[in-house]
Amino acid sequence: MNHAAPAGGHPVQFVAKNMRVDLRLIAGMVAANSRVLDIGCGDGTLIDHLFRTKQCDARGLEIDMAEVTRAVTHGLPVMQGDADSDLANYPNAAFDYVILSRTLQAVERPREVLRQMLRISTYAIVSFPNFGHWTLRMQLLLGGKMPMTKAWHRMWYETPNIHPCTIQDFFDLCTKDGYLVEEWLAADEAGARAPWRRFPGLANLFGEQGLFLLRKA
């Protein structure tokens, strides 16, 4: 069962398309010379960046075979696989950072994926589009229909994003499952930091995406 591949075989298109916008923010959270696994790495832009600028042992996992082929063709160590089923194969503490960039909302079992991430790695870096953003709330309130934005641009019946959540929802899950939020921020689509660091409620209203650095308590 392929969670992110609707008919036609085009999985989670916007994940790869928007990789670059939060790339710098994520890379900023990663220490030099660390071991990194990027889940949903697309064509491997981030792992290449981490290898070249921070000398990381960075590897990728990607569900879309065309992207995998592109990444390996560029000399990047990327394996075709599925976040839902393949993280279980890695040993405990194999990595310093495991990154899940704009993929959490598209996996089958987000809670289990997070659990696996923090089993195989010291830190987890998670970014996701915030379903609590005011434009989405307005569309639902006034139009009475599922919101359509730049990030949420597929109709409800064909979207691969089966587990949308808000920044506040994510904080709640971290508390429930005992993850420490080492660092977090809200950003707009272009990847610029939004000034809501101390106010999760405002970030949840005005941040287009959430970015979290977690570790186990």
Binding site: T69, V72, T73, H74, M79, D86, N89, Y90, P91
Partner: protein, 396 residues
């Protein structure tokens, strides 16, 4: 009707094969190791010869060597005209100047496997105890690991302490895996293509059909055909024909031949045949001119014996524990002999030990043979992977 058609086919094969009774003797570039080799079966070969070819130039640090491992019926003539068939090398599409395995950058070596019939020690070589006759079926059972140990002797002889990469398809992929498991520090990168960590029951079954066909040939003489001055050509040809079907896909056969007839509009005469029959017979008859039947028995058995997990307490990840080797696994979507699931199982085992592994399935309708054919996605992937490894190895 099939029975009659079969009779015709046999007659057809026979008429072609009577032209060559024994394999021509050709001189091969080789090294002889007087200390011989201890085999997995417990026997010790008193001395062994490893025939090989090389392309490109070994750099001063001896750090740019790529060992290419050939498949069941391949040989060391990877990228040049074959001395027996006169045809281009079997991996001409992959190995050469500017190609995926670039002989302008890398020193490429390919050795005929132990048990083979192109110059390396095998059933055609002189018997250890009776030097006046060949081993024949008395040649000891060899394993994929034995083949790798023989290659290691050659690599040491060439002054190479670490191979930049070991690359191989099918049985060559098994060797690449065995290299990484046996000599992890001597393999910077390993590329098993269309391979598996064990030979499946289905594959063993197909091999057994081939072996039975050879054994049933009246010219086999219990493996002593060399003493009679004949070769079990029909049996070997049938073995090849059966095997060849497993190398291609139904889609590829349909595209190439469909139900077309060979020089006929109707199957009215006994001699009228489908194109696919004629093609298979050609495959069979050309094969027997370059391959020894006892070698075929020896090497198919070596593949059957391959089970890397079994050698490591039943756990495949243990074969690669602590490995620093960078892996690229490649499978082809229509390969039913070494299906993608087999490569994925290896990929998962490598994940278990957090090895550096890439895994790609190439979309192709050409079946197992795709690894030998013009598959640009595969060639780009291999080339890119090697380039990335070269950067990490400090080669570029």
């Amino acid at each position: 009707m099939p029975g009659i058609a079969w009779g015709i086919s046999q007659a057809h094969i026979g008429s072609v094969m009577d032209q060559s009774q024994t394999l021509p003797e050709v001189a091969h570039q080789s090294v002889r190791f007087e200390d011989g080799l201890a085999l997995d079966c417990g026997r010790h070969l008193a001395n062994i010869t490893v025939a090989y070819r090389s392309y490109g130039t070994l750099n001063a640090a001896a750090s740019n060597a790529i060992l290419v491992c050939h498949a069941l019926t391949g040989d060391q003539y990877v990228a040049e005209i074959h001395p027996l068939t006169g045809k281009p090398g079997w991996w001409n599409t992959v190995v050469g100047p500017g190609k995926a395995v670039d002989t302008e950058k890398y020193f490429v070596i390919c050795a005929n496997v132990l048990g083979g019939c192109m110059g390396s020690t095998g059933p055609r070589s002189a018997h250890d105890e009776r030097p006046n006759e060949p081993w024949g079926t008395e040649f000891p059972a060899v394993t994929i690991q034995d083949m790798v140990r023989a290659q290691k002797l050659l690599i040491d002889h060439l002054g190479i302490s670490r191979l930049f990469a070991v690359v191989g398809g099918s049985m060559g992929g098994m060797q690449a895996l065995a290299w990484a498991a046996l000599y992890p520090d001597a393999v910077f990168a390993a590329v098993p293509v269309a391979a598996a960590a064990y030979h499946s029951a289905q594959n063993i079954a197909f091999h057994e059909i081939g072996r039975q066909a050879i054994a049933a040939d009246p010219f086999f003489y219990a493996g002593r055909y060399w003493a009679e001055g004949v070769t079990p050509e029909r049996g070997l040809a049938v073995a090849r024909m059966t095997a060849h079907i497993t190398y291609v896909s139904e889609a590829a056969l349909t595209r190439k031949f469909g139900r077309r007839l060979q020089n006929a509009t109707d199957l009215t005469l006994l001699g009228d045949r489908f194109e696919v029959e004629s093609y298979l017979e050609y495959q069979g008859s050309s094969f027997v001119r370059r391959f020894d039947a006892n070698s075929y028995l020896t090497i198919t058995r070596a593949m059957d014996l391959f089970d890397l997990a079994a050698d490591h307490g039943g756990a495949l990840p243990s074969a690669f524990a602590g490995s620093k080797t960078r892996f690229l696994l490649v499978s082809f979507s229509s390969d039913w002999l070494f299906p993608t699931a087999q490569s994925r199982a290896i990929a998962r085992a490598l994940n278990h030990v957090a090895a550096n592994a890439s895994f790609v399935e190439i979309m192709s309708d050409k079946g197992h043979d795709a690894f030998l054919l013009d598959e640009p996605d595969f060639h780009r992937t291999l080339s890119g992977f090697l380039a990335g490894c070269a950067e990490h190895a400090g080669l570029s």
